[in-house]
Amino acid sequence: MLETKQLQLKFGATTSDLNLTLKPKTITWLRGKNGAGKSTLLHTFMGFTPAKSGSVICDGVTVNSKNPAATAAFFAYAQQKPDFAFGLSVARVLELGKVDLSASISQSLGLQKIADQEVTKLSGGEAQRVLLALALSSNAPYVLLDEPFASQDADSIRKIKELIEQQRQAGRCFLIASHIQVEADQELVLV
């Protein structure tokens, strides 16, 4: 279980205290206008951005920048805008991320077709699906996704939602920042 206690973000328009509980087998839809602090919230949860005040406690462990091992153990994350540093092939990037190219996740996300392409030359949606494959293939219990549907076509959105639902049923906990509606157990609106 992930809990925030009187969490205040360092960046973003939101000034209210965030008291939030994320439980296993749930999906939380994080909403809010551009600039409200959605991406900052995800980074604060993982300990990459320090909180202005308050804390994030994950299964009894305080998550912050001094504890990168906890961050790695608890979280999987796919950022909104991929920023691969150079043009490795999709297959190589997945190999480095310990993702099986022949596994069902890679198949659902259509990565086999683009396995030989350079990650820096992919479309925004394709590159983001590579990041989603990394996040969805990890064993971390909490999956944070930043606008996972923004650059995707209808078919990809459907497949990504199916994967999320499968993994939720298997016990994972999702926090999804999205402008597109997400069927969720709870909603968190940043204002």
């Binding site: 980074h43 993982m46 990459f48 990168p68 091992a69 961050t71 790695a72 979280f75 999987a76 994350y77 950022q79 920023d83 691969f84 540093a85 150079f86 043009g87 490795l88 092939s89 190589r92 990037v93 480095l96 991320g97 310990k98 350079e118 990650v119 990041l131 990394l134 990890s138 971390a140």
Partner: protein
Amino acid sequence: MLLKRITPLLILLLVITFVASSVGATNSGNLLRYLTGDLSTAQAEIMSSIRLPRIATAILAGFLIGIAGATMQRVFGNPLAEPTLLGTTAAAALGSVLVILLGASAVQFELTLPAAFTVALLISALAVWLSDKTKLQGANFIIIGIATAALLNGIIATVAAVVGSSEIRAISFWSSGTLAFARSESVVLLGIITLLVLLALPTLSNKLDLFVFNSVQLTLLGYAPRRLKLMALTLTSLAVSATVASIGAVAFLGLAAPFIARFIFGESMKLSLFASGVIGATLLLVSDTIARSIAAPNEIPISVVTSLIGAPFLFMLILRNRVSNNA
């Protein structure tokens, strides 16, 4: 797979080695005739004590500079990062100069190498800290590197101007670079460091590909980004220090060799790291052979030749729009 694809490069290097062995101010035969015992005693002496050590030095130093350049470009995510531009070379030179001022001789590698390595590693660690702290990227990061290199070179030049005449020759040798003093001692030094680098190569090439991810992703994959960077830069500092201690600073090689390697073998360091080394070796051997033969018996500075070969690659790099993409 690796050897099969790199074989043409290795054959090219072998051919150039043979050509280089037959070129020189004096007619001393060539490598083949030396190996078959078909040379006069005087010719064989020139071959074994001067020409072959010089060729071996060029190959080993070029290999190390190529590897160091490729590694730094990955670590800093910048196609312009290389030991000379970022100040690592000048730092190693400064380290060597400091122990020479304390009384060591320029060929006492057991003293110059640790000093060169220490200062080079310090400057590398500073660069990592600075790039993490300021998030400086692209051109701005390189400008800091150039300023660092200029500052260190300025200190070396000032020291050279102040101290007595016998040390000046040794000190000016660090900043301009030459293989004229290459002897079997430098071959042994470079050989040992090259062996270490070769042993680390499989791990290093794998780790360097990880820098395709940003530090957030690396952390989530269970890696410590800063530790990865420092590990890689420890190796490059060692490689750069050994080359600086034996031949001084060589311009552009660390930039050109990895660029050509990636152009031929692609962005993954699985092939391109080793290839950067082999191409660096080939370029330095060609450059040195030109440097010592084009105006024989006079020599032109090695960096003049590597700049003439390397600068066009910088133009190519910019024309291919890589700089603006990464800046």
